[in-house]
Structures are given as C-alpha cells and as structure tokens.
C-alpha cells in the first residue's frame, strides 16, 4: 500500500498549487490591465498596452507551466532555476510598468 516515491508532506504538490495561485493572481492583474487600457474607447496606445499585458501574461503562464511540469515528475523534483524565477519577476515588473504608463 505504501508508495515510497511519494513525499508524505506533499511538498511538490503544494509548490505546484502555489504556482497555480500565482498564475491566477497574474490573470486578475492582466484582466484589470485590459479593462484600464480599453476604458472609454480603444485608442491606439491603449491597444498596444493591452497587447503588451497579454504577452506578459502569456510569458508568466509559460514560466509557471514549465515549472508545474517539472514538479509533476515522480521522485525528487529539481530546485527552481534562478533564470525562471527572474523571468516571472520581470513579467510582474513589466506589467507594473505598463500599468504606470496607462494610469499617468
């Protein structure tokens, strides 16, 4: 009945769900960005900002998807590579910069 490969603390599963929650947060931020960009008619600048936010959201999704796939392998998952952590953070920062450009 016992499964030796499985961590009793479910650490990989918890980490996977943490990535899912974070993706959800990024989705909310991207939707708010789209709403702001297209508020009061679609201007050219608004459409560009909206497209940029969509691309950044897709970038975040890609990082999260890769990490979730890595965590799903049986046995010991590898640690998160700094490159991917930085990628996720840069997407977040870029969304904030788009937001600042839209707000001002």
């Amino acid at each position: 009945m016992t499964q030796p490969d499985r961590d009793p603390g479910l650490q990989p599963e918890r980490t996977r769900l943490a990535w899912r929650r974070t993706t959800l947060s990024a989705t909310v931020a991207a939707i708010l960005a789209a709403k702001t960009a297209l508020h009061g008619g679609a201007s050219a600048a608004g459409l560009v900002a909206c497209a940029a936010c969509c691309v950044l959201w897709l970038g975040f999704l890609l990082v999260a998807h890769r990490r979730i796939r890595d965590l799903a392998v049986p046995g010991r998952p590898t640690a998160l590579a700094p490159r991917w952590a930085t990628g996720a953070v840069l997407c977040t920062v870029a969304i904030a910069l788009c937001a600042a450009a839209l707000v001002v």
């Binding site: 929650r21 709403k35 702001t36 998160l80 952590a85 904030a96 910069l97 001002v104």
Partner: protein, 130 residues
C-alpha cells in the same frame, strides 16, 4: 545595495549558485520557492490594487488618484524584485549552511500599506463631506 547588485548577476547564472556549498534537502528548496511565490502574489495584488484605484475611484481628484495608483504600483515593483532577491539569498544561505538572512522589508511594506490605507480613509471621508 552592493550586495543587491551582486545578487542580480546570480539571478541569471544558476550554474554559479550550484558551485558553492552543498545541495540542501529538496523540501527546503521547495518551501523557499513557495515563499517566493507568496511574495510574488503580494506584488501582483499591489499591482492589481493600483489598477483598481485608477479604475474604481473615478470621482477622486486626478492627482490623488494617480499618486495612490503609482504608490501601489511602485510597492508592487519593489515587492517583486525583493521576492527574487530574498529567494536567492535564502537559497545561497541554505547551500552554505548559514543562518537565513534577516530582512526589514516586511516591516517596511506593512508601514507603506498602513499609510496608503490611512490615505484612502482620508480621501473617502473628505469625499463624503465635500
């Protein structure tokens, strides 16, 4: 600040991180990763708050609205950069077997959020009276 700049180089160079110390138990690395993600969610929530201030408080004066939104967005940027920096510092400390780094950032963020919250209360009350 100098340590921060040195860390920025390591964000993009995972091989250099692996060269020092020993690999910790993978569960500790995963816990560190979840903490990083929790900070990233906080950053995304602050950014969402910035959009929300801009979108859902249309009767606010323009300068107040932009100021509050930019404060929240700036806090979000700081929070996300700090998230990856702290994650890297913790990862390195674990590899070297050192104590985890201490940080005054949580206190700083709490104070900033408290100030923004008080500003919101003032704005709403002033809006009712005016």
């Amino acid at each position: 600040m100098i340590g921060f700049v040195q860390n920025v180089r390591l964000w993009f160079a995972p091989e250099e991180v692996r060269q020092e110390g020993t690999t910790p138990d993978y569960r500790f690395s995963l816990a560190n990763e979840r903490t990083f993600l929790a900070w990233l969610r906080t950053a995304l929530a602050l950014i969402g708050g910035g959009f929300a201030v801009d979108q859902f408080l249309p009767h606010l004066g323009r300068s107040w609205r932009i100021g509050l939104a930019l404060a929240l967005l700036g806090a979000g940027v700081l929070c996300s950069l700090r998230a990856v920096n702290h994650w890297m510092r913790c990862e390195r400390a674990m590899r070297r077997g050192e104590d985890l780094p201490v940080s005054r950032f949580p206190a700083l963020l709490s104070v900033v959020i408290a100030v923004v919250a008080v500003a919101m209360v003032v704005v709403v009350v002033a809006g009712w009276e005016g």
